[in-house]
C-alpha cells in the first residue's frame, strides 16, 4: 500500500500539508496545481485496522458530490481515482472558517447564532432541493466563506434519492456522528432531510448554551435516549438565550420528524426574522418533562416508529414559502380580494406552505410629524395593521403567516432582496388593472417579475369590477 505523506505523488497530483484527519479519510492540500481553483485531495483511510465503511463512504461521497450541480454551498468535485486501485477525490479547497471555531467560544450571542444558523439552513435547503440529505452534519463539516455563505463538506454518509444507497444495509450500528444524530437515524432511517434539521438544531443548541443537547453518548443505550428524551431547554442552561431562539432550537429538535420544521428554508426564515417567530409552549418550557411523562415515552420508544420519509423533492422543495406583496396604500378594494383568492388557492394546493405578507414603504423621516400616526413607529404599525387585515380572512394558523414592513426608497429592490435572502419559492403581487393604459416604464410588478429568483404571479382584478 502506498504511503501518503506530504510531498508524495498520487496520479500526477503532489500532496501538500495535511489539513484534516477524519475517522474515515485524510485531507491534503495539493501543491503545484496549475488551474485557477485551489485543490485538496481526500484519501479514504484503508488498510489494517480501518473499517470497511470507509471505502463505501468514499464511493457514496463520489456519487453524491459528482451528481450535484456547481454551487457555493458545497465543494466542487474535480476528479477521482479508481476505487479498486487508488481511491481519492480531488475537490475545491474551501477557504473558510469551520463552525467549530464558534463552538469553542460558545455561548455565542443570539444575533451571531441567527446569522450563522440562517446561512447554514439556506445551504441545507439548497442541498435538500437536489434530493440529497447530508446526514453527517457537525461543526467540523460546516465552513463559512468570507462572504458569509455556509459550505457543507464531507458527503460520505449523504443520501441521494436518485441513486442506490450503498450504505443502506452495510451497517449494523447507526453510522454518523452520535452527538448530532436524529432519532430516526438511530434506528437506521437514511432518507429524511429533516434529520439534517435535527442536527442543525443540535448545533444551534451548542452555540447558544455551550453544551451538547444530549452529551456525548458512548453506548447504544445512551444513544437511544433521544428516542424519548427531550434536551434540557436552552434557557434553563443559559438564561440569556432569547425565547425566540429557544423556540427555534426546540422546534428543530422535536423527536418526531413530522413535528419539526418542514424545511430548512423555514428555519432560515425564522432565524432571519426573530420578531416574527411564533412563540409556543416550547419558548417558555422550563425544565425537562415530568418523570411520569418520561416513563410513558420510554415505553413507547421501545416500539419507536420513525416518521415516513417525505416524498422526493420537486423543484420547489418541501413546504414552500410564499411572499405576498401588498402595496402600501392598498385598502380593501377588488385587487385586495383578488390577492386573497389567489393566496387561498395556493394554500389549498399545499397545506404546509407559509405566507409572508410584505409591504415596501419609503423610509419615514426620523423625527416624524407631530401626530402619532405620522411618526416612524406610528406609520410602521399602521402598515402592519393593514397586512394583518389582509391575511385575517385566510384563517391561517399563527405560525404559518408572518408580517414584514420593508423600509426602502426602492420597492422593487427591497422585494427582490427579501425574496432572495429568505429563499422564497413564490411571489404573489398585484398588477395594474387589465386595460390600464400602457406605461412608458415597467411598473413594480413587471420589474419584480423579471428580477425575482423564483416564480412570480401577478394578480389583477378584472376590468370593470
Amino acid at each position: 500500500m502506498q504511503a501518503f505523506v506530504p510531498g508524495s505523488e498520487v496520479d500526477g497530483f503532489r500532496l501538500g500539508e495535511v489539513i484534516h484527519i477524519g475517522s474515515m479519510a485524510t485531507i491534503y492540500r495539493l501543491t503545484g496545481s496549475d488551474g485557477p481553483l485551489p485543490l485538496v485531495m481526500k484519501i479514504p483511510r484503508l488498510g489494517p485496522g480501518e473499517r470497511a465503511v470507509n471505502v463505501i463512504a468514499f464511493e457514496q461521497c463520489r456519487m453524491v458530490l459528482g451528481a450535484l450541480p456547481q454551487s457555493p454551498h458545497h465543494p466542487t468535485l474535480v476528479t477521482f481515482g479508481d476505487v479498486e486501485t487508488t481511491p481519492y477525490l480531488v475537490m475545491e479547497y474551501i477557504d473558510g472558517v469551520r463552525l467549530d471555531g464558534w463552538v469553542h467560544e460558545a455561548p455565542v450571542g443570539a444575533d451571531e447564532i441567527a446569522r450563522l444558523g440562517s446561512a447554514l439552513a439556506l445551504s441545507l435547503h439548497d442541498l435538500h432541493r437536489q434530493g440529497v440529505a447530508h446526514l453527517d452534519l457537525k461543526p467540523t463539516n460546516v465552513l463559512y466563506r468570507t462572504t458569509g455563505e455556509a459550505v457543507l463538506v464531507d458527503f460520505g454518509l449523504a443520501h441521494h434519492g436518485y441513486y442506490p444507497d450503498l450504505l443502506a444495509e452495510e451497517l449494523r450500528y447507526p453510522v454518523g456522528n452520535w452527538v448530532y444524530m436524529a432519532p430516526e437515524q438511530v434506528v437506521g432511517i437514511r432518507c429524511d432531510p429533516r434529520s439534517d434539521i435535527y442536527a442543525l438544531g443540535a448545533m444551534l443548541y451548542q452555540l447558544a448554551t455551550g453544551r451538547l443537547p444530549f452529551g456525548n453518548p458512548e453506548t447504544k443505550a445512551q444513544l437511544r435516549q433521544r428516542l424519548y428524551r427531550e434536551p434540557i431547554p436552552p434557557r434553563s442552561v443559559f438564561p440569556e438565550t432569547p425565547d425566540w431562539l429557544q423556540e427555534i432550537i426546540l422546534h428543530c429538535l422535536e423527536i418526531d420528524a413530522r413535528n419539526r420544521y418542514a424545511s430548512a428554508a423555514e428555519v432560515a426564515f425564522d432565524l432571519a426574522n426573530p420578531s416574527q417567530v411564533t412563540l409556543t409552549e416550547r419558548a417558555s418550557r422550563g425544565r425537562r418533562s415530568k418523570l411520569a411523562m418520561l416513563a410513558r415515552r420510554w415505553l413507547r420508544s421501545r416500539n419507536f416508529e420513525p416518521a415516513p420519509c417525505p416524498p422526493a423533492s420537486d423543484h420547489t422543495g418541501p413546504a414552500p414559502i410564499i411572499l405576498v406583496a401588498i402595496a402600501p396604500g392598498q385598502v380593501e378594494d377588488a385587487l385586495f380580494e383578488a390577492l386573497q383568492d389567489a393566496a387561498r388557492r395556493l394554500i389549498a394546493a399545499d397545506d404546509r406552505c407559509r405566507i409572508a405578507c410584505v409591504t415596501a414603504v419609503p423610509p419615514a423621516a426620523t423625527l416624524g410629524g407631530r401626530r402619532y400616526e405620522e411618526t416612524a413607529t406610528g406609520r410602521h404599525i399602521k402598515h402592519l395593521v393593514n397586512l394583518r387585515r389582509w391575511a385575517k380572512p385566510l384563517q391561517l394558523a399563527e405560525e404559518r403567516v408572518t408580517y414584514h414592513v420593508l423600509e426602502s426608497d426602492k420597492p422593487v429592490a427591497a422585494l427582490v432582496d427579501y425574496a432572495t435572502m429568505n429563499d422564497v419559492d413564490h411571489v404573489l403581487m398585484g398588477g395594474p388593472k387589465a386595460g390600464a393604459p400602457a406605461r412608458l416604464f415597467p411598473g413594480v410588478s413587471a420589474q419584480v417579475a423579471s428580477l425575482a429568483p423564483c416564480s412570480v404571479t401577478v394578480v389583477r382584478s378584472r376590468a370593470g369590477n
Partner: protein, 227 residues
C-alpha cells in the same frame, strides 16, 4: 461502448422503433434484446425482422418464454390472454421468423430464481434481464445481500465494476406500472454508468393495431393505460 438493452418487446413495433432511435441518438453501438420478443402485440413479423437485422450486425438476442411458446413449446405459466395471442402469433409467423426464433439461445430457465442466486450464479459484474416488466436495479451489498433500488428515469447511475449489479431493464412493449411509456436501459460500459429510460411513443397506434387484429381488448387497454 454503449450497450442498449431492451426486454419484453411483445410485438410492439412502435415502442421498439422509438426506443431504438432514442438509443442510437445517444450513441448506442451495441444492442441486446432480452427475450419475449413476441406475444400480446400485433406486429410479430415486423418486430422479429427488425431484431434479426440487428442480430446480423452482432446484437445479442435471447429467447423468452412467450417466444418459446410461439415455437410450439408448451408453457403452463401463460395466462389465457397470453395463450390466445400466442396462437394468433403462430399463424402470423413465416418460415423465416420461425427459423430465427428457433436459433436463439434460451434464457435462464429458472424464472423464479431470487436476485441473490442470479448474482451469485453469474460470476460477473453485470447481469441484465427482462421478464419482470418493472425497472429495478439490484446491487450486492458488502454483507452479501442484494439491495433493491428503483431507478429514476434519465439519471445515470455509477455502477462500478468492483460491485455486482443486476438490472431489470423494464418492458419496452408492455409497461405495467401505470405509466404507458416504454422502458429500456443504456449501459455505458467504458464509464461504468447505467441509465434507465422511459420513452413516450405512439401507443395509440399500437393499441389500434391490436384492436384491428381482433386481439383481446384488455391488451389494447393495457398499452393505453400502462396497467
Amino acid at each position: 461502448m454503449k450497450l442498449a438493452l431492451f426486454a419484453d418487446i411483445h410485438s410492439n413495433l412502435e415502442a421498439i422503433t422509438t426506443c431504438l432511435s432514442h438509443a442510437k441518438a445517444l450513441g448506442a453501438d451495441r444492442f441486446a434484446f432480452l427475450g419475449d420478443l413476441v406475444g400480446y402485440g400485433a406486429d410479430p413479423v415486423a418486430v422479429l425482422d427488425l431484431i434479426e437485422e440487428h442480430a446480423a450486425d452482432g446484437a445479442v438476442v435471447v429467447l423468452g418464454n412467450h417466444d418459446a411458446a410461439a415455437l410450439g413449446r408448451p408453457d403452463d405459466t401463460l395466462s389465457s390472454h397470453a395463450r390466445l395471442t400466442i396462437v394468433w402469433t403462430q399463424a402470423q409467423l413465416g418460415e423465416k421468423q420461425r427459423a430465427f426464433l428457433a436459433g436463439l439461445p434460451l434464457s435462464v430457465p429458472d424464472d423464479d430464481m431470487e436476485a441473490e442466486d442470479s448474482i451469485r450464479a453469474a460470476n460477473t459484474s453485470y447481469i441484465f434481464c427482462g421478464h419482470v416488466h418493472e425497472q429495478k436495479l439490484f446491487y450486492m451489498g458488502a454483507d452479501g445481500h442484494p439491495l433493491p433500488f428503483r431507478p429514476v428515469p434519465g439519471t445515470p447511475i455509477p455502477t462500478g465494476k468492483h460491485r455486482q449489479w443486476l438490472a431489470i431493464v423494464g418492458s419496452a412493449g408492455q409497461p405495467r406500472d401505470r405509466n404507458n411509456k416504454a422502458c429500456y436501459a443504456l449501459a455505458d460500459l467504458e464509464r461504468s454508468r447505467l441509465t434507465f429510460f422511459r420513452i413516450p411513443y405512439d401507443f395509440a397506434l399500437a393499441a389500434h393495431k391490436v384492436r384491428s387484429a381482433g386481439l383481446p381488448e384488455r391488451i389494447a387497454l393495457r398499452l393505453e393505460r400502462g396497467a
